[in-house]
Structure formats: structure tokens, C-alpha cells
Point group: C3
Chain length 352, copies 3
């Protein structure tokens, strides 16, 4: 029986969990997956606020509680709901109708845990996002933190501008499943070309997941597409404490050589943040060289291929990789379910 207790904690960033706690979540998730621990969420309600579209996150967040007797209520904010305010002291005579100072405690009183997805850059189709602010502004994840401050139950970040901790946990679980103890094994987080400028939240949490397992991490990306250096520094510090490390590189050939895990992700440049047309022009020369294909995977040490999904086939990764022996993307997605269940157990209690 797990002793992990997050009942008075939030999970807003992967950094909210210690390295030991990440391992405990993974172990609990493995026990739940294999039937050694059966959660009991009867009478428990998860309230889920989606400001962005979602398949995996919503299904895993709902199924993880409802298959063990609880239930979830999902809101699609801005369609089913009001517009929310989170600045203090404002005179609300404009377009916002409800303040998080009311919203957060009210939802808390009617539920046992709250999940929130709010990212300014996730959109459907090729529509431009309406982002004009720069990344330093958005990385504050203002609504999420304001909500958590005023909530009376644990709050889970289901993807913000900066972090996607539930994806990181699923990746960690998948690597433990695949490698046993991943400590010291070679992990490559590779940037990929994509027609849009995607958020950095997921690669941030994926990077942390590998660091928290003490892996030898390479962030493979072109010049100008670095991740948030604060996040990179935090990951490096955690990895090094376990005997691993974090380096950045644009040497594709060297990065793949001997890798045990290749995790692909497209993300937008923080330098170009909000200037999407300019970034698209600047990266057009990068389309050819960065796709994950069978030739690159052949240079690895039989690496497992990870991607958070959804993934654009033959743009980010070739069919041959997704349909070949390397791919662990289905297990990785499935593990969203078990890690979500483990987090609920840690936050809500229940089970044996």
C-alpha cells in the first residue's frame, strides 16, 4: 500500500513533486495497472475545466476516476461557462463575468479534486492562436495559479503554458516499464518541424520526467528553439543529483547514436513567441532534417520511441517508426490512465 499523500497539495508543475514522489507515483500506477492496488473512488467527484480541446487528457482524467467508482464533470470553458477574471481589484464591467476568487472555492465545495487545462497556444486546425503576449508573461500561468490559490481541494494542471505534469508522469512510467531502472540510460528529446507553433509545456514536463529518473538527457533542437532555460536548469540539477545529466545539442547524428529512448515533440520558438508567420518562415529550412525516421532510429541502441500524441504522421515522425518495433506511444498514452489514477489515490485516498 502506497503511503504517498498529496491530499493537501497541488500538481501544477512537475517540479511540485520531489524525485522520490515521482517514483512513488510511478510505482503506484504500475500496481494499479497490474491489479495489485484497486482504488475506491466511490462518492468522489472530479471537476475538469477544459479551455482547450482534449482527447487523451479528458478520457484519462474521467476514466481514471469513473472506472473505480467515482465520477467526473467536464466543462468546456468559454462554451459551457462564463468568462473568468483572475486579476485582483479589477472593476469587472468588461467581458469577464466571474472571478476565480468565487469560481475556485465554489467548484471546490462541490468536488474533491479539480483539473484544469488552459493553454493559450492549443488550437484546432491551422487557425492562428490569438497570442500577442510574450512567453515571459504567459509562463506565469496566471489563471491556474490564481485558481489554485483560492481552491479548497487539490488542483491538477492538465496542461498550461509551461507544464503538462500528467504527461511527464506517464512518460516516466513508460520508461520504467520499458527499461526497468532508467538511471544513466541515454534519453533524447528531439524537436521536430511542424506547420504550427506548438506549446513548450509538454516537452518541459517530458524533459523533467527523464531528469527525475536520472537519465543521460540530450535536448536535440536547432539553434533558436531552446526550451525555457529555467526549466532546463531545474532538470539538469535534478538529473545530476541522480548521476545523470542534461545537455543541449543540434547534432542530430550524435544525439541518436546509442540512445535508449527517443522522445519527439514539436514546439515553437520562445524567441518568436506570438510571431507565428515569422517563425514559420525561419524554420522552413528545418523541415527535412528533423523528422524521426527509421534511418535515425537504426542508429540508436534499440531505443523506444515516445510521443505524447496527437502526432502528425510523416511530418514529425515517419510511419515506419510509429508502426515499427520502436514505438511505445500506445503504452505511453495508456499510462496516462494509470498515472492519473495514482495521482487521484494520492490526493483523495481510497483503495487497498
Amino acid at each position: 500500500m502506497s503511503t504517498l499523500d498529496l491530499s493537501d497539495r497541488n500538481l501544477l508543475s512537475t517540479l511540485d513533486l520531489s524525485v522520490d514522489e515521482v517514483r512513488e507515483v510511478v510505482e503506484l500506477a504500475l500496481e494499479i495497472k497490474h491489479g495489485a492496488h484497486r482504488p475506491d473512488f466511490r462518492g468522489r467527484v472530479a471537476a475538469l475545466l477544459f479551455f482547450n480541446p482534449s482527447v487523451r487528457t479528458r478520457l484519462s482524467s474521467e476514466a481514471a476516476i469513473s472506472r473505480f467508482g467515482g465520477s467526473a464533470v467536464a466543462f468546456h470553458a468559454g462554451k459551457d461557462t462564463w468568462n473568468f477574471e483572475c486579476r485582483d481589484g479589477v472593476v469587472m464591467d468588461g467581458a469577464t463575468q466571474e472571478h476565480v476568487r468565487e469560481l475556485a472555492p465554489v467548484i471546490s465545495r462541490m468536488s474533491d479534486v479539480v483539473g484544469i487545462r488552459k493553454s493559450e497556444l492549443i488550437t484546432v486546425g491551422n487557425a492562428d492562436a490569438g497570442v500577442t503576449s510574450d512567453y515571459r508573461e504567459l509562463k506565469r500561468d496566471e489563471f491556474l495559479h490564481a485558481f489554485a490559490e483560492h481552491a479548497e481541494v487539490p488542483v491538477i494542471n492538465l496542461e498550461s503554458n509551461t507544464w503538462h505534469p500528467m504527461q511527464g508522469l506517464a512518460d516516466a512510467m513508460t520508461m520504467v516499464e520499458a527499461l526497468g531502472d532508467p538511471r544513466g540510460r541515454k534519453y533524447v528529446l528531439t524537436w521536430a518541424w511542424h506547420p504550427k507553433s506548438l506549446p513548450v509545456a509538454t516537452p518541459h514536463s517530458q524533459l523533467l520526467a527523464a531528469a527525475d529518473l536520472g537519465m543521460d538527457v540530450t535536448i536535440l533542437r536547432p539553434d533558436g528553439w531552446s526550451l525555457d532555460q529555467e526549466v532546463v536548469a531545474a532538470a539538469r540539477s535534478r538529473a545530476e543529483a541522480l548521476g545523470g545529466g542534461v545537455r543541449e545539442s543540434d547534432d542530430v547524428e550524435a544525439a541518436y547514436r546509442g540512445a535508449h529512448v527517443v522522445c519527439a515533440k514539436a514546439w515553437g520558438s520562445l524567441d518568436y513567441y506570438g510571431r507565428f508567420a515569422e517563425e514559420a518562415h525561419a524554420k522552413r529550412v528545418l523541415r527535412e532534417g528533423w523528422i524521426v525516421d527509421a534511418a535515425k532510429m537504426a542508429r540508436t541502441d534499440g531505443a523506444r520511441f515516445l510521443h505524447c500524441l496527437p502526432v502528425r504522421r510523416n511530418v514529425v515522425v515517419a510511419d515506419a517508426v510509429l508502426d515499427g518495433p520502436w514505438s511505445a506511444v500506445k503504452d505511453e498514452a495508456e499510462n496516462r490512465l494509470w498515472t492519473a489514477a495514482a495521482i487521484y489515490v494520492a490526493m483523495l485516498g481510497g483503495g487497498r
Copy 2:
């Protein structure tokens, strides 16, 4: 154990419950809140039709059944569903695709209770509502009553043009919690300025809640912003039968003096109904004097402050009131959950 049985009744208006029944609902809700009565809704399904956005109402309606073993299915009408017809004898070759004569019995056959939110004036943002009819037309709540007529299970009004009975019950419960026996205590329902013209359904049901507790009620509003006089007369009759009373006034200072409860709500003028630009012009001089602030609350007898939420901070009510000792708005919202559970118990049975 409660003996309240609403299994062959609807709750379309607060007037559908007798004063004694309102008290029974409140007592049952208090028992459920404190664990003295645990409902058992296993196998029960609530179907919820939302024609308008909702946070509190949807979450409370879903959580109240699902935390006790049942489940809810929420529809966002007009998006997830067809357009509905409720006039009899019509040749349906226009924009409507399904008649309530089919819709209501069909939903009834697949569920145990139906909740409906349908108000012509609830919108998101500052968009004008598309209302052209006058209030006398809309107050008939035609769809709601046609649905209830053809339904085969109990129907709950989750806010119509005229009534919001579930809000009234939560307010009643909150006042009983705060005051013990509210009979004869001074209750002020104050109008507030708001950039939009909001529905009268909620203040109608709030007024009734205070009347049904036998309180000494003042409706504080500017000339021209009276509530529906039929509703006011019904409230007065109920209040007086219990030794209370209902008066209307525009004397702000006198109204607050010695109050035990101040309930704020913005609503649109019935005289200007549908002529929103004209009303906005007429009420621009009212913006300053009607906000609920600390100075006004200081004149009360330590009154509890109520608001149904969502509320525009520093427009309807000042931060100092919402964040100060007067505020009962979180309890009031939470009580939406417990009163909903009580109504389900009365309609569905179950529990001990």
C-alpha cells in the same frame, strides 16, 4: 428520515412547493450535508438540458446525483441536439426538428428525473440577447411547461425566464444555517447596477425563499426596476401568513439599517424588456449609488451577504464585502449541492 415525497411532482416554480415543503427540503439538505442522511441513487440517471451556459447549476446537479451512486447526462441544446418545437398543431417545415411531445416522453423513458435550463436572457460576454418578445410572453416559460406536461418523470426547472427554484432553496438553507430560525429577521433584496440586463428569475426565487421563511423583506430597487408584481404579491401573501412581510423601497439608507441578510442581484427592468440600449441609457445614473460596499454593510445588524454568483466584483459588490466577514456566498453556492441532493431524494426516493 424525511417523508417528503415529490415523486409525482415537478419543481418548475418556487410556488410549486408549499412553505412547509420548503422547510422540509432545507432540513433534509442539512441532514445530507452533515451525513445524517445518505442518499442512494445507484441505478438512477438525471438528464439535464442546458440551453444556456452554467457552472454552479450543472456541477451541483451532476455532483448531487453522482456522489451518491447515480449519474447524469448533460446536453447543451442547440449545439449537441436538435431545435425543439413546443407549439401544438404546427406544420414543422421550418427550423425546428423535434417536438416536445416526442422529446419529453423519450427522455423520460431513459432517465429518472429531468432538469431544464432555458432562459432567453442568459448569455456569455456582453453580447445582446436576441429577445424581442415582451416579458408577459416570456414569463409563460412555454418550453418548460410543455416539456413537463408531456414528461413521464419529475421535471426540475434549472432556471427559466421567471423562476430559479433551486437557487431559492439554496438561499433558504443558507439563511437557516446562518440565522437558525429566520422568522421576522430583516432581509433586503437589493437591485444592483450591471452592464447587461439580467433575468428576473433568480431574484424572484430569492424573494420567495425569504418570504417562505417568514422574514421581514425589503425589495430595494430604483423606480422602474420593480420585480413582477404577481410574484411580489405571492411572496407577500406567504410572508404575511408567517408573520413576516414584503415591502418595496428605493431608500437605500433605510433598507440596510438593521438588516440581517443582504442579498444582491442585478436584474433588467420589465418595462424596458428587450430594449436593452434604452435601458442602459436610463440606468447610467444608477451606477454609483447601488453597489453593495462596506459602508452600506456597516449599517446592518452584522448582516450576511448573499449573491447567487457569478458576480461582477466592484460593479455589483465591492471586494471588501465579498472578501470580508459578511460574505456567505461560498456557503450559498455549496448549498446548491445539498439542496439538489434533497430534491432528488424527494423525487427519486432512496437513502436512509
Copy 3:
């Protein structure tokens, strides 16, 4: 106890079930309806993907699992989700973001059964559908079959371009309830005029339902509005094997004479498929003669009237029929719930 086992099967077309299996589903559904069999779906999750609006299908699909302890998660694709790709080998640099090769296994890993509604012709209001392809293209139901191919759990078609098998099963159950053994009884599937061009999926499955019960079937439709001849041939073959038959006719008077069941449905001409304005012009002379009214029903042998709903009153069928003794449409809709529960039992196991 039913021995019907569909745990490694899909239900994409009514033809996926043998005639014997259709009868077994109907019998199991009747047992569940009458309490002789109580399913146990605790811990089970149904994932439901709706690309089109739905009332009956969504409520029956959700309620059938949740009233017996399981739960459902419904997605409104294109609003809550990504755009999906199902062509193999494509370079996904356009408007699609996720391939069914990922989507299907991922949803499978998080759920126990998947339901999909995807029809190009179902729209709300009078808006033209965006269909330009011809019927031969759309009848392949490409997304549905691609999803099923890559899914790891049973997939249920909740209405595609070609089939609506869950409606067919509910119709079969309703006829067994009304007639006992429907074999050899006269069944009329009548076309009706409608302002829009509606899909053929439902009449296809309704036709099969009558054929699978061995009925004497007449498809009553104007010249130019034949159903898919492949489907008609399959239905004829199944009906004849049981001593029934299938004929097509445009003789309204003869068709109604002595009928035991009249099932009405509007559908678009396969010849005009996608050319809606031309079809509307061609069928304008058909508006008067095809409505199901009391005079026509009076010629039957006390026939039961069926319609899948929603139905346009006084366009497809007269008030007098829907509100008269002939109508079985409420039972037919209710039976969507019980047949859905029976299919879940067959696919998921559980119950006694």
C-alpha cells in the same frame, strides 16, 4: 442467462449480426427491460465519439451503461477534439492532427467499448451539409472502418452514412413486443417528404430489422428514391430465408392495405446525392401524397406506427397518427436503452 458473446466483435452494420444473433439481442433486451437480467457494468467505461448532434443515441448509450454501474465519456468531435485522419501513408501537414492509427488504440486502452456517430449528412436546422462526394464514396464509412480496424475493444456504429444498427435493433425489439412473432406479418417502410435530404442509414437498418424477423416487407417510395440496392438485396435474402420477402413499390394505397407495421422515414435520393437544391425541386410534387395520416393508417390491419425520431409533425406524419392509438414511437425510443444495454452485455459480459 444469455450466451450471446460479442466480446471480440464490432457492430458496424446490421449485417454484422446473424439473424439468430438479432433475435438473441432482442430477447436479452426484453429480459433486461423486465428485470429478469440485471447487467453489472461496474468498472466499465464506454467512450462515445459524436461527429453529429444526438439526443436519443447519446442518452441511450450513456444511460444503458451508467444505470448499471458503468460510465460513459462522450466527445463532440471537431469541437472538443482534434481533426482526425484515416488515410494511410499521408503526409499530415494539412488540417488533420491525429491519425486513427493512434486514436483508435489509445481510446481502446482507456475504455471497454467505443461508440461512433459519423454521418456526413446529419446537420442541425436547415443548413446544407457540405457533401460533395457521391454516395458510393461515402457508403464506405471510411473513418468508422479504419477506427474499428485499429481499435483493441469492440466498436459500435451509432450511425454512419450507411447503417444505424442500434436503431434497427430497437425497431426489431418493438415489433417483437407488439406482434409476438412478427414472421410473415406485413411491414411497410414508407418514404416521406422532408425539407432536407436525410441519410439512408436509418431506413437501411430498419429494413434489415424487418427482414431479420422474416416479415413481408414493402419498401414504399417514389421512383428515384430507392434505397441502396445492395442493402435491399441483402435484406431480401435474409427475409426469404425465413419465409418472408422484400418488394419495392410506389403504390401507396396498396402498400398500406392490411399492414401490421408502418415505419415512416424521410431519406434523400441516392441519384441526387449531394445535389440538394435539384432534389428539393424534383420532390416538390411529392409533398402532399406521402405523409402518414389517419386516412392511410385506417386502411391497415391496426398497424403499429414506427419512426426513429426526431420527426417533423404534420410534414412526415400527422398529429393524429403520433397522438393516436397506432403510435409505438415512445416504446421504440425507449427500446434504444434496452437494446443498448443488451449489446453492452454481449460485448462486455457482466450481469446475471
